[in-house]
């Protein structure tokens, strides 16, 4: 039994996943409906989504969810409901409730109340003009009906033709919820044996009668006929009587009038489908049209394999090992070439390795592609959120999405969901003005919020931009001073970009009042810290009165980076290559001091310097010492890192470091080179932040030795204390 329990658990897991898709589709359709109220196509799609959810939930044994979905589905079938103004609202409420119920099922927690939705659904149904009478009346009891003159004639003809004519009475199984279909099935079974001359209720009648009578002309025996009609789960009992001789003995002869009366009586409980019509084909034709608006998930699901992300990671990890192996080979070949510079085999080796490298590259790219998902997956949750938040704030906001098909590593996508949500909420809450304010400023009353993604080199840029009032630089300044993040005199020297960066500091919020929507004083620093973790950056582009853009720059993947390797104190370090703007060679004498910081005049720019290794030496010939300066950009700011020597460019497979293994956040990971050396990968943004926050008190005490061990640093600063100018 435990095996089937496992299967059930697996099925439930699948259900939760697919239900999530359905809810997303529900939200999407509801949003569409809000834009095009009364669109019957959308209502049909809504109904189908709810229907699928209902079925899936029922199969999983989630009765409550299935029931309320069923009620909603029924209500959506009403003509009046389609035109109902609040239908979109009902759909939103339903999506929220279903989502809450799913969460509760998952945690085995208490289910949320279904009453609010039920009330709304009821209201839909009660609206004047609602034609469907809800529950159909109980089954009409068995009753032998009369045959028409025409039918009697047919019976006579059949008997003359040498057939037996049977009067077949079938009782539909009381558990069968679809008596009409059941009757059709019985008729099909009979038609397989001969000719059905008459049927009561008539074929296609929508009366939910649980008994049926037929006149069958056949050459089969009575047992065969009743045997064929014994359809499991459909027919409870069946009785076949041979009509003797002429039709004169047909049961209860009745005049045409009586028949009509009887038909009318049966048909009345379901007036929405007049019994005279052929009811079936019409709805079919309609439904087929609505299928063009297929839900994305259903078409997607076809050729898709669900694979545990861990498995892909392990493949990627192996690819990483292969890449290390490749550089090992390369290394060996280089050494080989040095020893046997004339050896002809070298060329063969080089060719084979070039080929291997190319395949390896492709392999790496394909594996990485597996992890890539379109940002659509993340973006599509925003329309609903923007609508809700805008409504809460009483603002009119249009959301424009671009670049949804931009691919991004799944883990990165998951990680930026929260920061992005914060940024969007903030943009609506603070960025965009109210309609009145906008009008005064000469803008259209409807605010625009753009959410976009695109590739830029080896990075993906995700932008959240609004056309609101922009950020108030002076207020940020004041707040930063008030919070003691900066002194009043320092702030005067900061650029606008630097001032704006204060909003990412923990505890910073200029919102006067804390609202549900935004301004809880947390959030922006979350954005920053997530970006650090992802080795990405966030940058604010702001034009007062015209809007704000938050630009998140993200690496394509977390697993493999192109890096620049360098040495500090004979140790090997690396930084992501895309952060390096240029490499400058200069002399110690070119380094100047401004305040307590070292700077370098690089062309017409003043570049703050960070010494990663030992401080400037006291050597009299120090002026002649050559320096390597890595000019790096972090966000919009540039820094020069002074390093001891350059090692080269390399593709690094990042191995995550245990929290226990590193005590500093300056290092974000490590990698192994082909020759077996270990290289630490620096987290540039934290390096720069450390630098920016440190405030050397005494004149001339410059920043250095960030990467030195405590003991080294103490030693060096003692040495340096002597005579730094």
């Amino acid at each position: 039994m435990s095996q089937s329990d496992d299967r059930m658990a697996e099925l439930r897991e699948l259900f939760f996943e697919s239900a999530q898709e359905l809810l997303q589709a529900l939200n999407d359709e509801a949003l569409k409906l809000e834009k095009h109220p009364g669109d019957s196509e959308i209502v049909r799609t809504l109904r189908r989504i709810v229907h699928t959810l209902k079925g899936d939930a029922a199969a999983c044994g989630y009765r409550e969810l299935s029931e309320v979905a069923h009620e909603l589905e029924d209500a959506l079938a009403l003509e009046s409901a389609a035109a109902h103004a609040s239908l979109a609202e009902v759909a939103f409420t339903a999506a929220d409730l279903f989502s809450a119920m799913l969460a509760a099922y998952r945690k085995r927690a208490k289910l949320p109340s279904r009453d609010p939705l039920r009330k709304m659904v009821k209201k839909l149904a009660q609206e004047p003009g609602a034609k469907q009478s809800g529950r159909r009346k109980a089954a009409v009891t068995a009753k032998t009906l009369g045959w028409t003159e025409y039918e009697k004639l047919a019976v006579q003809k059949a008997q003359e033709g040498g057939n037996f004519v049977y009067h077949v009475q079938a009782q539909i199984d009381p558990h069968c919820a679809m008596p009409i279909a059941a009757r059709q099935l019985v008729q099909n079974a009979l038609a397989g044996m001969g000719e059905v001359l008459a049927a009561r209720p008539e074929a296609g009648s929508s009366a939910p009668t649980k008994s049926a009578e037929f006149l069958l002309a056949t050459d089969k025996s009575c047992e065969e006929v009743s045997g064929k009609c014994q359809i499991p789960t459909i027919v409870a009992s069946v009785k076949a009587e041979l009509l003797p001789g002429g039709v004169a003995t047909a049961p209860k002869r009745a005049a045409r009038k009586t028949v009509k009366a009887a038909e009318a009586e049966i048909a009345s409980p379901a007036p929405e489908i007049p019994a005279v019509e052929e009811p079936a084909p019409a709805p079919v034709a309609e439904e087929t049209v609505s299928e063009n608006t297929a839900q994305p998930h259903t078409t997607l699901a076809e050729n898709i394999l669900r694979v545990d992300a861990e498995r892909i990671d392990s493949v990627l990890n192996l690819v990483g090992e292969l890449i290390i192996g490749k550089s090992m080979l390369q290394q060996a070949l280089n050494e080989f070439s040095k020893v046997y510079p004339k050896e002809a085999l070298r060329g063969k080796f080089a060719d084979a390795m070039a080929f291997q490298a190319r395949v390896l590259n492709d392999l790496q790219r394909s594996v990485m592609k597996i992890r890539m998902v379109p940002v659509e997956q993340l973006f599509r949750r925003f329309p609903r959120m923007v609508r809700d938040v805008a409504r809460q704030c009483g603002k009119d906001v249009e959301l424009v999405l671009t670049g949804q098909d931009t691919d991004l590593d799944k883990s990165i996508l998951d990680a930026i969901a929260e920061p992005l949500t914060h940024l969007v909420r903030n943009a609506i809450g603070h960025g965009l003005e109210s309609a009145g304010e906008r009008q005064k400023a000469g803008k259209s009353t409807r605010g625009t919020l753009r959410l976009g993604a695109y590739h830029q080199g080896n990075q993906v840029i995700v932008e959240v931009s609004d056309d609101g009032r922009g950020m108030d630089v002076n207020r940020i300044k004041a707040k930063a001073i008030q919070l003691g993040m900066v002194t009043a005199e320092d702030v005067a020297r900061l650029s606008e970009a630097e001032i704006l960066d204060f909003v990412f500091r923990p505890g910073f919020s200029t919102a006067e009042e804390v609202t549900e929507v935004s301004g809880r004083g947390v959030g922006m620093d979350v954005v920053q810290s997530v970006m650090h973790r992802l080795k990405g950056t966030v940058h604010i582009d702001m034009h007062a009165g015209q809007g704000t853009t938050f630009r998140l720059k993200l690496p394509l993947t977390l697993a493999i980076i192109k890096a620049l390797l360098f040495q500090v104190q004979q140790r090997l370090y690396a930084i992501p290559l895309n952060a390096v703007v240029e490499i400058a060679r200069t002399h110690e004498s070119e380094v100047h001091q401004v305040d307590h910081y070292e700077v370098l005049q690089l062309r017409n720019q003043v570049l703050p310097l960070v010494r990663l290794g030992r401080p400037r030496s006291n050597d009299p010939e120090r002026g002649a010492n050559k320096l390597f300066v890595l000019v790096t950009s972090v966000g919009e700011r540039k820094f020069g890192l002074i390093v001891d020597g350059l090692e080269g460019e390399e593709e690094l497979v990042i191995k995550a470091l245990d929290d226990h293994a590193v005590s500093t956040d300056l290092v974000s990971g490590a990698s192994i080179l082909g020759d077996g050396r270990v290289v630490l990968i620096l987290n540039l943004s934290t390096v720069v932040e450390h630098f920016a926050r440190s405030r050397p008190e005494e004149a001339g005490a410059v920043n250095f030795g960030m990467l030195l061990s405590q003991a080294d640093r103490a030693q060096l600063s003692r040495n340096a204390a002597g005579g730094v100018s």
């Binding site: 299967r7 699928t52 079938a77 009409i180 099909n188 499991p232 079936a280 078409t299």
Partner: protein, 146 residues
């Protein structure tokens, strides 16, 4: 889950081959699990009517379990088209009570049977035995029969 005596094809004793058509992956899995518990074999799956037709042509299953409401092409139309080109196709419609008219329509167009969602395994089992008729045989060898 309940144990069912496996139903095999009477002509060669091989497992009955099923084509499962439903736009919900979940529903497909669920049905597949059931037919496998009947000793059946999943010949193919489809998420819409059009695919169902091509899958039928490709796999020639013994039984098709067909949902009614699907994107691209409804189950009824798919059933009709399959029956048109393969009159011996055994199609069982799978749908909820709300789509009774559609089931009736499908039955009129050649579907052999129907089961109601949520599908109960014991009901589906009976339906399948019925639909297979003489072409299906309940294997007696396997332990507890129903």
């Amino acid at each position: 889950m309940e144990q069912f005596a496996p139903v095999k094809r009477s002509k060669d004793g091989q497992p009955v081959r099923y084509l499962i058509v439903d736009d919900s992956v979940f529903a497909r899995k669920n049905l597949a699990r059931m037919v496998e518990s009947f000793g059946g074999h999943l010949a193919g799956e489809a998420g819409d009517g059009l695919t169902a037709i091509t899958e039928y042509d490709r796999t020639h299953p013994d039984i098709v379990l067909m949902d009614i409401t699907m994107p691209q092409m409804e189950g009824i139309e798919a059933a009709e088209r399959i029956v048109q080109s393969h009159p011996d196709a055994r199609i069982v419609m799978v749908s909820s009570v709300g789509y009774q008219e559609n089931i009736v329509a499908a039955l009129q167009r050649g579907a052999r049977h129907f089961v109601q969602k949520p599908v109960k395994p014991e009901v589906l089992y009976e339906v399948i035995k019925y639909v297979l008729g003489d072409d299906g045989a309940v294997a007696t060898a396997a332990g507890a029969g129903v």
